[in-house]
Symmetry: C2
Subunit: 554 residues, 2 copies
């Protein structure tokens, strides 16, 4: 049997667009002689729909769209993902379902059993698990086990110190394998992180080995706010060999043949995606910016270009995601900005062909100080004055955004966000945080990666010591440990979930570790008001890391 | 048997403080001859601990603290709530448990079966449900069924159009009642909303009637960031009559006797809590402010006093939650502010004895305009200039906050937050949103309630048409429907989950309904960066309403 894999980029709630993409792929599959075409989890509505699932009208639209898509399925079968109503009078209202479409109608519906509820997942909030209904479906003589994403992740590699791989007390494949399927289909909405590909391969291989069946995996691609979906759909043979792998970070489509399964002709889609970690992050961030703007209906971006490395990297990424003529940046030097910083910023803007304007902030800063002279009489300058400058910049950027319709890109990195080294309503402004899940040491690596073929980001920007330039001769290292020390401590605490004691045991200075962890904990209130952060790691700030704000804990 | 109910205010992760409160109540119970003292759900660590539960060190501290508390239990038994480790090798790592303590040690552990995962709840993220282990425990000859919060909410009154009462396929009490208990204990962490009391009584009555057993209900009290816990612990006789009701919004303690259960001597704690909706909201907000500051370790507050009703109500509430000498407000008139506004603001500050300063914003606004003159050349004034003024005010308030250590209270209301009638990084600034879950029409009701004994909020503030005063003669009604129309539409959409069509059918103008719903949907990005909002309704903005930001949906 010929089977098509359709890896598409869906917009949440945009039923017309999603249906158009799906029916387009069905027509293409039919034209190429495929008997079955497979789409990803909740493809009809886009993933993750969150609380839109609590609106009846949304569920009705899902249903109508499934039926509309079904009317296009003649000769070719399709598997699409959508919620379905739980007919029982108790239990959650919905299932997370895979619909088998054919003969112009819905032929069968299969429900997801394992509902992830960790990190960025919240499926148990909406869905009832499949209550033990395990069946195969026979298509064109091939017996297929249909599973949905987490259904084959019953035993998964853990990323954190206090987590377990077997989160569920049952495994759907234990039931399905007894029915002796010819192949396993897994429709997914599996978000990117820079180490997810290795984890996926491990999980697929362990399933394939355990059950001696090939797996066809179809993932969605594209960004929905914070979540980046890399695609990477694939076919794995029953020996654990990858027979076909679709593109990463792009829509893709291919047709395979199951007879015999082992000799698939490599298609143009067969790409060996052996990218480095930094390259993957780079590509994911570019897609994240592109889709945020595209799906929001915006094309124009702005940001504050300081001459420092963070804003330089964000601008370089933005210029790859958007049209450079749609980007307009502000240089907002203060009295403490070095001449070098302004020169470096100008050099980068000119190199990329991006329009820039220079708006010095000192006159505005001075008028704030003048209006506050009575209130602040007798008080020495402190962090207050630094924050005013950062907020003047934020206000100028938002003014440009409001006047010309450019969305503001935030340029904070994960190290800063972690320890609260940023000003709320100042440099923390923005519609989207591009680097909020990228540690400073990786921002440098990204800069080098961006410069791999030619010097785009000025070397001076990369080489000078990082500084917020909010007071004379200020350096980040005045108040923070060097990033080479800070970042591994943050990684051990945030991504790996180690305690202070355990991190000290890894060889870090105890006072430094305690100080860093305290900073992370007491700055929850700042991150609470952060822009959405493009997620590239296994533990990003945002709704995948849900810490109580008011708490006493260290 | 004499049983003590201990309704306490816990701080999340503050094990020393929580243990001290619990052991203090154990000593008091013992002194009053109680054989058993009951504490609320997850009392040892405070509720909700969120992702602190993913740290092993946190779980170890819970465990140690339970054992430490147990060492205080001699002659008197105690039931406390804490997470416990799941000994199985599969399933989530933790249970949400009730520990029975006595003879100086942990005697038994009971696990929660029904794990709420809707609205603000996320328990399935962390906990494995009780895998069918239903037992009674006999204490001093009384057979007790121990349940944890949701365990008796298997059939609950719904608040939204597309929700169901029976969210679970099983009910723990169906199993426990077969073992014929003498009474049901329910330890809870049940957050306040202005209609939760009626819902609780309905649920308790239906359990009591179904199983003909009395219920002892112990809830926590106090605020943890957004979530306000009203307490209201009670004893309900087997006929559905309330025998004892503890205070709302305060710690409380009482001892009851079970022999006979029906003739409990009314204690000083027996308060008939028949407060109006607005009075409940008032008391909840005062507690919310008080606890946010107290638990964060702050005492001083600031806010921008405009002469309008929102900031007036927030100031009045803050003056009841904090020491008036710790509150310092800013009046920041613009060129568009009426003289009346300034007078009204001064009158209120003086009436409450709150220190105020006046910082006109026009010179700063002018310096922004001057610095932007080239960039904005030839462009007419628009919302940009209004937003700059709002952001100048935000920056001034944050400057006061930074310089003197006053936390900024946000003064936006729910109607504004819903339709995006507010400026990000401007009037949306603040550490805590006091009125973000209170519709404008209820803000007026709160003002009247605050003025019930004497005129605290100037009548002029209450009577004048609402205006942001950001351009000449601006009125809210220029861009929004009147609040008497807007608020019911918002309520029907947000709290009740009705579709546009259904709301129109209720008698509202179709174009207005569609405009309002569109405004709610497209302003998700603003609310994403909002301060935490004190939750008083059944559906507040914040993590209990989780909408995708990038989506196409109306």
């Amino acid at each position: 049997m010929k089977i098509a894999l359709a890896q598409l980029n869906y917009t949440i709630g945009h039923f017309e667009l999603n249906a158009q993409k799906i029916t387009g792929a069905i027509a293409k599959a039919k034209a190429e002689g495929a008997k079955l075409v497979i789409f990803s989890e909740l493809s009809v509505c886009g993933y993750p729909p969150h609380d839109l699932l609590t609106h009846k009208h949304f569920i009705d639209r899902c249903n109508d769209t499934v039926n509309q898509i079904a009317s296009h399925c003649h000769e070719t079968y399709a598997i699409v993902g959508a919620p379905s109503l739980n007919p029982d009078s108790s239990g959650k209202l919905l299932f997370n379902s895979a619909y088998l479409l054919g003969n112009g109608r819905v032929l069968d519906v299969f429900h997801k059993t394992l509902l992830p509820d960790y990190d960025i997942f919240d499926e148990y909030r909406y869905f009832e698990p499949n209550p033990g209904d395990y069946r195969l479906v026979e298509i064109d003589g091939v017996k297929v086990a249909i599973t949905i994403c987490e259904d084959i992740w019953d035993d998964q590699p853990t990323t954190s110190a206090f987590a377990r791989g077997k989160l569920y007390r049952d495994a759907p494949m234990n039931h399905l394998s007894k029915l002796n399927p010819d192949l396993i289909i897994n429709i997914s909405a599996s978000p990117f992180s820079y180490n997810v590909e290795e984890r996926r391969l491990e999980v697929f291989r362990s399933n394939v080995v355990r059950y001696s069946k090939p797996v066809i995996y179809v993932n969605q691609v594209g960004a929905n706010t914070e979540l980046l979906f890399d695609g990477g759909s694939m076919v794995m043979g029953e020996k654990g060999d990858i027979l076909i792998k679709l593109k990463s970070f792009e829509e893709d489509f291919c047709v395979i043949d199951t007879e015999p399964f082992t000799s698939v002709k490599p298609s143009s889609s067969f790409i060996n995606n052996n990218n480095s970690r930094i390259q993957r992050i780079h590509n994911a961030l570019v897609m994240g910016i592109h889709d945020y703007f595209g799906k929001m209906g915006f094309s124009k971006a702005t940001l504050g270009l300081s001459g420092g490395i963070d804003s330089a990297v964000v601008l370089a990424l933005a210029s790859r995601a958007l049209q450079t003529q749609d980007i307009r940046v502000l240089l907002m030097p203060s009295q403490y900005s070095s001449r070098h910083s302004v020169d470096d910023a100008i050099a980068l803007a000119e190199k990329l062909g991006v329009k820039y304007d220079i708006v010095p902030i000192q006159p505005i800063f001075d008028s704030f100080r003048y209006q506050l002279r009575t209130l602040f009489a007798g008080k020495p300058e402190d962090i207050t004055e630094e924050n005013i400058q950062a907020r003047v910049r934020g206000t100028l950027l938002m003014a440009l955004s409001n006047k010309f319709g450019h969305l503001l890109l935030n340029t904070s990195n994960k190290s800063e966000a972690a320890v609260g080294y940023g000003t709320l309503y100042g440099d923390m402004c923005g519609a989207l945080s591009v680097l909020g899940d990228v540690y400073k040491t990786d921002v440098y690596r990204l800069a080098h990666y961006i410069n791999k073929d030619e010097e785009i980001i000025p070397l001076n920007t990369i080489q000078k010591p990082p500084s917020a330039e909010l007071r004379p001769n200020q350096k980040d290292s005045d108040s923070l440990p060097p990033y080479e020390i800070l970042d591994p401590i943050l990684f051990a605490y945030i991504e790996q979930g180690f305690s202070a004691q355990e991190i000290v045991r890894q060889g870090f200075d105890e006072a430094t570790v305690k100080k860093v962890i305290k900073l992370v904990n007491i700055n929850e209130y700042k991150r609470f008001q952060s822009a959405p952060i493009l997620r590239v790691s296994s533990k990003a700030f945002g709704y995948g890391r849900k810490m109580p704000l008011v708490a006493r804990w260290d």
